[in-house]
Symmetry: C2
Subunit: 247 residues, 2 copies
Amino acid sequence: MGHRLLSRCFGFKSNKLILKEELPQFNSTFSIDCVIFGFDGGELKILLIERNEEPFKDWWALPGNLVRANESLDQSASRILNELTGLGDIYMEQYYTFGDPDRHPQGRVVSIAYYALLRLGGDKALKPISTYAKQAHWVNVKDLPKLAFDHQQIFDKGLEKIKRRIKHQPIAFELLPEKFTLTQLQNVYELILGKKLDKRNFRKKMLSFGVLRDLDEKQKGVSFRAATLYRFDKRKYAKLFGKEISF
Amino acid sequence: MGHRLLSRCFGFKSNKLILKEELPQFNSTFSIDCVIFGFDGGELKILLIERNEEPFKDWWALPGNLVRANESLDQSASRILNELTGLGDIYMEQYYTFGDPDRHPQGRVVSIAYYALLRLGGDKALKPISTYAKQAHWVNVKDLPKLAFDHQQIFDKGLEKIKRRIKHQPIAFELLPEKFTLTQLQNVYELILGKKLDKRNFRKKMLSFGVLRDLDEKQKGVSFRAATLYRFDKRKYAKLFGKEISF
DNA sequence: ACATTTACTGTGTTATTTACACTAACCCTG
DNA sequence: CAGGGTTAGTGTAAATAACACAGTAAATGT
């Protein structure tokens, strides 16, 4: 068992009393919780599950799970997302770890939080749910139900993080289809930053970074003037090295 | 024991094979590692310990320890810092969690990383070291030895984080004494950002934020023209709400 | 053709950033 | 006490970025 090794390697004396007090591993574990943001062209949503197990049975919660013995934290987060959505190769980022001793009513569970960003195609089906959840739903971030555990806090911090990040990093594109219009891009910024932006200034600035490729192609299937489509050009972005995008 | 409860609450079936594969808590725990930055007026340093235990006996490492059963992560980080330096009420911030399955040779140890910022008075004695370390030293960040475990990676990420943070948040003052000169403040920015800044522009911008109080007092004990002393004014900073400092 | 809806465009004003070099004050030494 | 050494302290002009603001163009549907 691990405690002997661990106590030695961290220099604790092998006094059982001290061990019981100091070492948490007999009654603890770690999990991943994910704030999975999705954008469907109009609303910013996150994926919530309805729990089918105690504690917090029937409550809504962030998708999460225990970390397996042989997977890294990033792998674990990807797996959780994949198990729910069937998707892989999704942008995810670890942003904070929550570890209050009493955040979980049944033991010490330290939870490492990730956010994910993806685009919601109209037909994106969720995979069948595993036993611990009854169902999963995309919920508008402006209309969240009460959440289990400290998940409201985890969500709040996640939203705060992407607010900061979108100002300097090209993460908005993760929420959009490959081809998008400038208006859609502006929508993403406005939803995440929580404020209206001036259209002309937004377009001027965004184009000035030189990271968008004009596709010479128009939007289709809209009942009004079609907008031109753009694509985010990773090569051009890489060449910005040093210069920072800033909103 | 916790596994039963935990497996239930996360919806795993109580099948021992599955448990062994999926649940890590039998051979795992979590620790805190701290990048403790100190500024002595000239150099930016971090506190390293020389390990006295396997693995990595005799290597230099970041101060760290296991999290105790009843303390929060923040409390644990503060305790580790206090045990080494005797100091309390120090600025600390959690910034990333490292959890590769093989980052620790003797078991799964997920480590939550914190950075701390403090000023080094000339006479700041370190406390006697506990059994797991032979000694602790302040080491210039430009001259770090090879570090144990993945501690180089943990340090790198910590430095990266304070680089970002110092641009928008008033953390530089944590590294300085209460009364400081503008030149000292500029030194801190230059050391952390890793580049020279223009003196006149720096002073102009810094003063324009209106968060420094001119103390009508001069530096003492220098063998040249004495500079005026300033203090960071938290009240004035609080009133900036919304407006952001930016370098 | 007309109404409706969204795409698209430019300029003047103000604030911020940048680049840049000399004098002032103080200490120390001879 | 004069002069050398060292750091403190100061201003301006030019370039760039930020901001406020409104009307025409293009496509669709009736």
